[in-house]
Symmetry: C2
Amino acid sequence: MTRRILVLPGDGIGPEITAQATRVLEACQTLGLDAEIEQGLVGGSAYDAHGVPLPDETLDKARSADAILLGAVGGPKWDRIEDLSKRPEKGLLGLRKELGLFGNLRPAILYPQLAEASTLKPEVVSGLDIMIVRELTGGIYFGQPRGIEERDGQRVGFNTYVYSESEIERIGRVAFEMARKRNGKLCSVDKANVLEVTILWREVMDRLAAEYPDVELSHMYVDNAAMQLVRAPRQFDVVVTGNMFGDILSDAAAMLTGSIGMLPSASLNERGQGMYEPCHGSAPDIAGQNLANPLATILSVAMMLRYSLDEADLAARIEAAVGKVLDDGLRTADIASEGKRRVSTSEMGDAVLAAL
Amino acid sequence: MTRRILVLPGDGIGPEITAQATRVLEACQTLGLDAEIEQGLVGGSAYDAHGVPLPDETLDKARSADAILLGAVGGPKWDRIEDLSKRPEKGLLGLRKELGLFGNLRPAILYPQLAEASTLKPEVVSGLDIMIVRELTGGIYFGQPRGIEERDGQRVGFNTYVYSESEIERIGRVAFEMARKRNGKLCSVDKANVLEVTILWREVMDRLAAEYPDVELSHMYVDNAAMQLVRAPRQFDVVVTGNMFGDILSDAAAMLTGSIGMLPSASLNERGQGMYEPCHGSAPDIAGQNLANPLATILSVAMMLRYSLDEADLAARIEAAVGKVLDDGLRTADIASEGKRRVSTSEMGDAVLAAL
Ligand SMILES: CC(C)[C@H](C(=O)O)[C@@H](O)C(=O)O
Ligand SMILES: CC(C)[C@H](C(=O)O)[C@@H](O)C(=O)O
């Protein structure tokens, strides 16, 4: 059966990096992947063309796709849009919500070839391999009521941090299954000493733990987790947390590797449909200059093949190809170091294709 | 006029570290500080004695004190108390709220003598000196409604993240004043691309900036801030943010120094009354063993003298004394390193007193 892949380049460096990733997808077609590839607009570029960050046409295409590859959205050009619902970010949030992509997998892996890039000492980070499982369609990102209104003669801003048992259980299962496939260790992050919503979170995780006796569950407060990521990051294997804490901790964890240009991510719904994107942003400062690192996006293609398209072999081939170009000493600007060969976005794409 | 200082040892290592800090306070009395020192119960130890983490007697004493020195609260012994309002943490939160201690100052300073202790490379952190200004009596910590209730046949947990203009303005002024006294640089951290409450936050900060033309204000999203703290922490000088983000970021920033046992903090209200406490927690694992580092608590005394008791000279003397014992190579277990002299909690106290 022919699979449908939707590529959404987005803004900033998005078009350049998805262009290279699309070449990799096309190479996979010649290697046996039965898939159609189409494109769509999202984010600021969609706003410029249609006045909204998530046009109906894009949403329709996304709904019927088996998998989506997203570049990145946003940039200073759109930061002054007053109406929050028109901002590029809402294109991304809308896709997550409309497709029910509740399960966000964010690996933070230190590539041995890039160990130097970390700001942390090698003895603290070498071999780092954390998987952060972030809930992506609930919590304070989507909670109601929300807004800014006048109360007692002054304006007040408010948002609601809310989770139901079933939402917690659903993401909990993703995390327990992931822990089972990895080291059997799961750390759930909350602020149960202060927030009721995370008391419920902790309770549901504890209840699930009984169903996964092979997984060792621990709990950690979010402030301590932020600290422990800096102090001794290798104590973590799989981490599960809500939308907001996951946003913060996954970025901190990614940066521990020093090469955020290397990190892919996956966002999955209950049917295994998924959106795949690099962990980094749209980097407007270097957009259009053929400087960006396309490897996180190319590795997102590998995640797509593994999680949504059931093509683990092709995924492994891509990952091996990326490993090879790193071994060969090719580096884009963000991961450049002395004695290595500086290459452009497209040259890096060429090299991965050759290695494939 | 005789000032009143209330010492609240709290739980875990609290009693040991405040004992050393109290000796330093007593030494200040002989050096001219006109103050009475009394003690009170808070946290788990108050719960054990009176069934509540913040007895009325403690609150009354706190209200009439010019300054409070707190050790730390909490521990596994009380983690199973079902009723959140009885947990040790609520003693701390109650004091903050009842006394209106909205302005939390959390320095993250890398002591040159302890540069090795950081998990980050020296070229990234040497000379680090960040001041995080955290709002402490509002935001999601205290927002209503909150709770866990049944909705549509399942339980739902919820909390409210709320700030009014006046609350934001008040903490904003503390931060702008602080930036003015330091490098004239202020970074406000929010999530204004997603949360309405922080859109208002950003607006108010922008408005205040007009009143402080000598301060350069920048804005950063919280996920990026967590990342930038790991990537290039010295880009920050004064950071201002809400209660929850401040909790997370200040702990991450503290850990960058590698010696959280060295970091004091201050929580101030509008009248300059303040509560002073180390950034670290109650460390139940080493409680009662004369192993804990008392320096963060002793440095909290210095902050107290500077911010609440108008005794900047005495504050500077204490800080110099701490510098001297570090120069002399004395180290408690948490900051131990080869070639340095390992000392106990009380020996460290002795050394600071001698240096004073
Ligand atoms: C762009 C923004 C809305 C988004 C988020 O906060 O989820 C991003 O930071 C991310 O982590 O994917
Ligand atoms: C103990 C806890 C309630 C407290 C907080 O979250 O504020 C602590 O983490 C802190 O930062 O002082």
